[in-house]
């Protein structure tokens, strides 16, 4: 894993107390230049920071306003009164509570499934020699090269044939299936780096292959598992195309996940929309992300960038 910090703690010998002549001569001018540059850097960074935060703050502010207030008041004006009426509407009439729980349910099961099956397959592929090992590995990894859009029509038909269309089982199995390529790819690489002597010692002690995996190898792979779990949770929580394709038909709106539910409020809202309730719904789905991020931002950053740095 890459270290996200920039500091190298101790300057190597030979660099300290060895200022170049040019360096010393223009020290004051350079200081000024640094200050100027650093000031400029702060301005540029602050502007982007503002651009990132502003829409989110605006959403939260608007969620407390009435519909007329949203139209007549300045975008960043404070709401005239603090009322949670819009949140009640979002929760009960727009069913945000239900969609949220659906998402939690689906992602909990599908991520658990992805991690269990993904690391089982990766472990065997990384540490056992057998005929067809490479073939199966490349079969999994080749999945990374295909766009999901290409599979969406046949996938729809396959689920229909299996009677899994518009079911949680179908959605969860599909989430697992489409998360496997990256999970297997990453975890195979990870299991390969684990030392052999621990495994050998366990075998000498009479551990079975299955015990060796669950009690010795999995705990040793913890840091990799954490990264990929985060990667999968975020990816599956944010999935939009797959649920839209799969969760349709009669009574489907009861089973929608959060992304689908919110997108639907926005699309179907039209002109007599209750925008305030939509903003409340948005706030309800953004806030948990902010809270989780505040606690785990380091792990989340390294988990999500794991794919690009490997």
């Amino acid at each position: 894993m890459t270290n996200l910090r920039t500091d190298v703690s101790v300057p190597p010998p030979g660099t300290v107390g060895y200022p170049g002549r040019r360096h010393a001569a223009s020290a004051t001018g350079e200081k000024k230049e640094i200050k100027l540059f650093s000031g400029f850097a702060h301005v540029a960074l602050a502007i982007w920071g503002l651009l990132v935060i502003a829409p989110l703050i605006w959403v939260i502010l608007a969620s407390f306003k009435s519909n007329t207030e949203i139209f007549t008041h300045a975008p960043f004006s404070l709401p005239s009164k603090l009322s949670f009426e819009t949140y009640k509407t979002a929760w009960t009439e727009a069913h945000i509570g239900r969609y949220f729980m659906n998402s939690v349910f689906v992602v909990a099961l599908s991520t658990a499934g992805t991690m269990i099956f993904g690391s089982m397959a990766a472990y065997v592929l990384a540490r056992y020699k057998f005929i067809g090992n490479r073939a199966i590995y490349y079969l999994f990894v080749s999945g990374l090269a295909f766009p999901v859009f290409m599979a969406i029509v046949p996938l729809f038909l396959i689920l229909q044939n299996l009677g899994l269309l518009n079911t949680y089982t179908g959605l969860i199995l599909v989430y697992i299936a489409y998360s496997l390529p990256f999970t297997v790819f990453f975890m195979t690489a990870f299991f390969k780096t684990l030392p052999n002597h621990v495994a050998e010692a366990a075998i000498v002690d009479g551990a079975s292959h299955t015990r060796l995996f669950f009690q010795v190898m999995l705990p040793m792979a913890k840091s990799g598992l954490v990264s990929i779990t985060i990667f999968n949770v975020v990816g599956q929580w944010n999935q939009y195309l797959l649920p839209v394709a799969i969760m349709q038909g009669q009574g489907a709106d009861q089973k929608w996940v959060l992304t689908q539910g919110i997108a639907n409020i926005s699309v179907s809202a039209g002109y007599q929309a209750n925008w305030a309730a939509l903003f409340a719904a948005l706030t309800l789905s953004i806030l948990p992300m902010i809270i989780v991020y505040a606690f785990f931002q380091r792990q989340i950053q390294s988990g999500l960038t794991a794919g690009a740095t490997k």
Partner: protein, 303 residues
Amino acid sequence: MKHGRYPFIIGFLIVPVAIYGTFVVAAYLQAFQLSFTNWRGFSPDVQYIGFDNFTKLFHDNTFWKAIQHHALLLVFMPLVTIGLALFFAFLLNVGGGSRGGRTTGVWGSKFYRVVFFFPQLLALALVAVIFARVYSPDESGLINGLLHQFGSGPVLFLADKNLALWSIMAVLIWQAVGFYVVLFSAGMGSIPTEIYEAAALDGATRGTLFFKVTLPLLWNTLQVAWVYLGIAAFDAFALVNVMSVDRGGPDGATTVLGLEIFRNMQDYAQFGYASAMGVVLFFLTLTFAALTLRVTRRETVEL
């Protein structure tokens, strides 16, 4: 210990391979097969029509519009995103000047990184809903609300044919920049500070540092970034589906292949035709990735 080896291997592989085979491998194989049929989901027997779907695609205006949009996204989205991300990452890592002979990041760089990265955590569908409101054509929108304060007329971001795609692209960039700032920062962090110091001692300016030291050493990361962003440029489905006026409008000005595939499948039940588009999309993505890796290949600088 040889005993029980194969039952164990099979036992561990059977479920993942079965799930993957059913929903991924079978689906991709069928996509190729379906693309040569005119199947619409009613008749039990499937009729093969050779390359007819592809010829039809070739004469389909909407298809070419979608391709054009992907081309625009493919050029400008990675360019702007990587440009901004590199710029910010450079400021964060070496913007603070040298302290005791070594270059440091600006004060509060950790805070900036945390804030910049956050949009990456939000679902694109959610981001799309937020920006559909931000771009709202009346005073209820964030931008037009502000413009109204200054007495400016409303800008029809999503309803103006010439503006719609660019407005959607801006949202993709808004979301992506933070991710690449973190990625590039990690890359810059692994460049030994002695190199910077040595260059600074030789009188290198910040610009020289950036172009002669940082950029070459980050080449591999940049390559990855370009491929990632390119693949994202072939998607954009969630944003277009949620944000655009009558899905892909106005007048097809924002449509993308993903949306056309979806529409042909859901609205017209043209399973064969939709699959043909999927196959084309696959070859486009593959060609792009292969080309990028080939064209941008150069000697990596080993540290």
